[in-house]
């Protein structure tokens, strides 16, 4: 699976304003709403459900990266976006570090495989330090879009 299969480029947030975990999730979900990926009347429920998942254990998986996510019946396919925070946000990460890179995913409940393949793709690329550094330095949605595209094009393993 490639970034282009689940990242909606119109919803990319290059400079997140959010200062807290909840604000980050709200800002990214709002961005998916603004780009027409989710339904307006589902916004609050999606935010609440992502926050509920965070209570089970932070999705801040270390290296300044978090993958907040949930399953939600209102989406028909995996939808996701990327956000970058210049100063980082306290996300209760597993390694205690502030988080600068966010990949938010909403998947249909009956499609666990797609969610796994998105996580696989994200984690594979994030192991590349150059990718992480470039992403953290990105200051516009088009920079991020271009970076994701480059990594999609160089991908040898697809799932």
């Amino acid at each position: 699976m490639k970034f282009s299969d689940f990242i909606n480029t119109k919803a990319i947030c290059a400079e997140l304003k959010a200062q807290t975990k909840e604000e980050v999730i709200e800002e990214l979900v709002q961005s998916l709403l603004d780009s027409g990926q989710i339904q307006a009347d589902q916004r609050e429920d999606i935010v609440a459900s992502i926050m509920k998942r965070e209570e089970l254990g932070s999705t801040g998986i270390g290296r300044g990266v978090a993958v907040p996510h949930t399953k939600h019946p209102s989406v028909e396919q995996l939808v996701g976006t990327v956000g970058v925070s210049v100063n980082g946000v306290d996300f209760d990460s597993l390694d205690g570090e502030r988080v600068q890179l966010f990949f938010l995913l909403i998947s249909p409940p009956e499609r666990p495989g797609d969610h796994l393949r998105a996580l696989e793709n994200i984690s594979r690329q994030l192991r590349d330090e150059t990718f992480c550094r470039f992403l953290k330095q990105s200051r516009s949605p088009s920079d991020i879009e271009q970076l994701l595209q480059e990594y999609d094009d160089n991908q040898f393993v697809s799932g």
Binding site: T59, T70, P112, G113, E120, S123, L126, R127
Partner: protein
């Protein structure tokens, strides 16, 4: 004293597969041991103490994974990890929000 590496095969049993929460569980369990612990799929071995590495496996329900452990506490470690897989990361009995 030499510590011969131990290895076994485990299967992902829970419907949601090896997603973020099970990966976190594995890291927490594996990190309690001094031994080097690796989990592998199709010849690709990753460090079981790194959540980012575990997620790269993209292991769905039914996937068979290799488990290899080497170190002074290898026996305890391999048993503890086998147990985690056999219990389906505690996700077999109730639907859990991924």
């Amino acid at each position: 004293m030499t510590n011969a590496p131990l290895s076994t095969t485990v299967t992902v049993l829970n419907p949601q597969g090896l997603h973020a929460r099970p990966a976190d569980l594995i890291v927490r369990q594996a990190s309690q041991y001094e031994s080097k612990i690796e989990i592998g799929k199709l010849g690709e071995w990753v460090d079981a103490k790194s959540i980012l590495s575990l997620l790269t496996l993209g292991a769905a329900q039914g996937t068979e994974l290799g488990l290899q452990v080497q170190g002074p506490d290898a026996e305890e470690a391999i048993q503890a990890l086998k147990d985690l897989f056999e219990q389906g990361f505690n996700e077999l009995s109730e639907p859990v929000d991924a």
